[in-house]
Subunit: 306 residues, 2 copies
């Protein structure tokens, strides 16, 4: 398959437009603002941020297309001599105002590296989507996972169970012994013609991105008008603290970005606006807050439960 | 000098009482609550937390005395065969409600490790105190540093300038190119009979702890009744975000604790209660908020300026 990078780049750019339009529509008030930025060394990005919408408190849907010299440390890490690289991806995090509407994160990316002759020395797709609610709605969890599973199944019947497990494992706050959220799918290092024939893998990577809107927007529609109390908002802010902890302590993408002079504001845009840390906070046993915690401590197989 | 560990342990326990009493007095309403905890493997601690005081929104003054097996990785790190260790210390972080009152952090600790015969294979003191205001008051900065310098000068005339620089270097958010606060002093690996004769070094370590109350409490008294606006509170919450970033991304003590099954609630007690992340926030040039940022980007020599 030729021109994977051009085609995937075109894919993420149209997907960015489509996702922003869908989120603006469900919000009804908030509009994305765009910041274009350039990267020293090659490439740049489009950061799109929504703030103080009717539904979304803070969110970003960002694309980047970067290329240039691959640091020696990374060549070593990959075990190849490949002095140049290309990477493009779409990364999004959406933090709704209401504690009844889940936070969502997704990312789809493609990476190529080149040997001294400029030939591809390695390439792969990575990505995933995961849901982080503040209150457990089992129907949402089942629907979200089912949308992702149906998408996966159209490409390879082994994908969903593998990538669902990888997601539970990755988005885990080990220092708290609890998952960040209800999971979804997470995959990385999917190499063309290794995992699937190149064109089929490309189609999967595109379909993964396209599954975002049907997996998330109906959940927003379902809950966006529900009432909530101050105490529920406080619980949301405490849980957002866990989100921050994951992103700053464990998330490889965030730490890689911070340590390689990525654009700080685009990287840390994943952090919620208002966050709270309470000393030694534990919800009452049997409360809706505790119901969520129990599931985070013991990730479920949502599809089997359905 | 005999019994350093018993004496330093006694020192930090009385200092914890004294600091809590001084902070309760300046607060006038809030009281510290105590949690005792035990460590699997040996020792434990006294976590004391103040919440929703008149002046202090959230703070902790914690002691711990821990001992047991020293992990192989740490023995390697120190380059010795020393299967057992002892450590004790006092660690505090105080987050006031008002953006006019600075946040403060301090820590004083002593570490010993033992060879297979139970003999001391290495021992050292570490610690420091640093101030993180939300608005710049140069007089506070000068007074804070002067108290620390005078204390240092009584023990060794080279200490203040060395440990002031070490503090500026350590409490630095490299991903933002700015200091966490206005610094103070920071020292580590101060070995008895190397840096100073054992008894003199012990006296310095104790004096460093005793300097906390005179360095910080007068600043609280000076500002605690000042009025502030919602916008100033928002700026404080944004700056608290930087504090969280430092502690979760860069602080060795926090990361070490999280990765070695420390008591999570005592470690993350350092995080402020209410925190905010705004996308791409920049204060207006020439504003009081910008005045602070300029100093954080270019740490000053407060004593020379006085």
């Amino acid at each position: 398959m030729q021109d994977v990078k051009e085609k995937f780049q075109a894919h993420i750019l149209q997907l960015q437009d489509k996702i922003c339009a869908a989120l603006e529509k469900v919000d009804g008030k908030g509009k994305f603002e765009e910041d274009l930025w350039k990267r020293d060394g090659g490439g740049g990005g489009k950061t799109r941020v929504i703030r103080d919408g009717a539904v979304f408190e803070k969110g970003g849907v960002n694309t980047s297309v970067v290329f240039g010299d691959l640091p020696e440390a990374m060549q070593k890490h990959f075990g190849v001599t490949a002095p140049k690289f290309f990477a493009c991806g779409l990364s999004l995090v959406i933090h709704p105002k209401s504690p009844k509407v889940p936070t969502v994160h997704a990312n789809w990316r493609y990476f190529e590296m080149y040997d001294a002759n400029g030939d591809i020395a390695g390439s792969w797709f990575g990505g995933g989507t995961d849901l982080t609610p503040y209150y457990l709605d089992e129907e949402d969890a089942v629907n979200f996972h089912t949308t992702l599973k149906n998408m996966c199944d159209e490409h390879d019947s082994s994908f969903y169970s593998k990538y669902k497990m990888a997601c539970d494992k990755y988005f885990y706050n080990s220092h708290r012994d609890e998952a960040r959220g209800l999971g979804g799918i997470f995959y990385d290092y999917l190499k063309p013609d290794v995992v699937l024939p190149a064109e089929e893998l490309f189609n999967f990577a595109c379909a993964a991105g396209e599954s975002f809107i049907p997996s998330y927007v109906p959940i927003v529609e379902k809950h966006k008008l529900e009432e909530f109390t101050e105490d529920q908002k406080e619980w949301q802010e405490i849980r957002r603290g866990r989100y921050v902890e994951f992103n700053l302590i464990h998330d490889k993408g965030t730490l890689f970005g911070l340590k390689t002079n990525g654009r700080i504001e685009s990287i840390l845009m994943s952090l919620p606006a208002q966050v709270r840390w309470e000393y030694n906070h534990h919800p009452k046993s049997g409360s809706p807050e505790d119901d969520l915690l129990q599931v985070l401590k013991n990730p479920k197989d949502w599809i089997k439960l359905s």
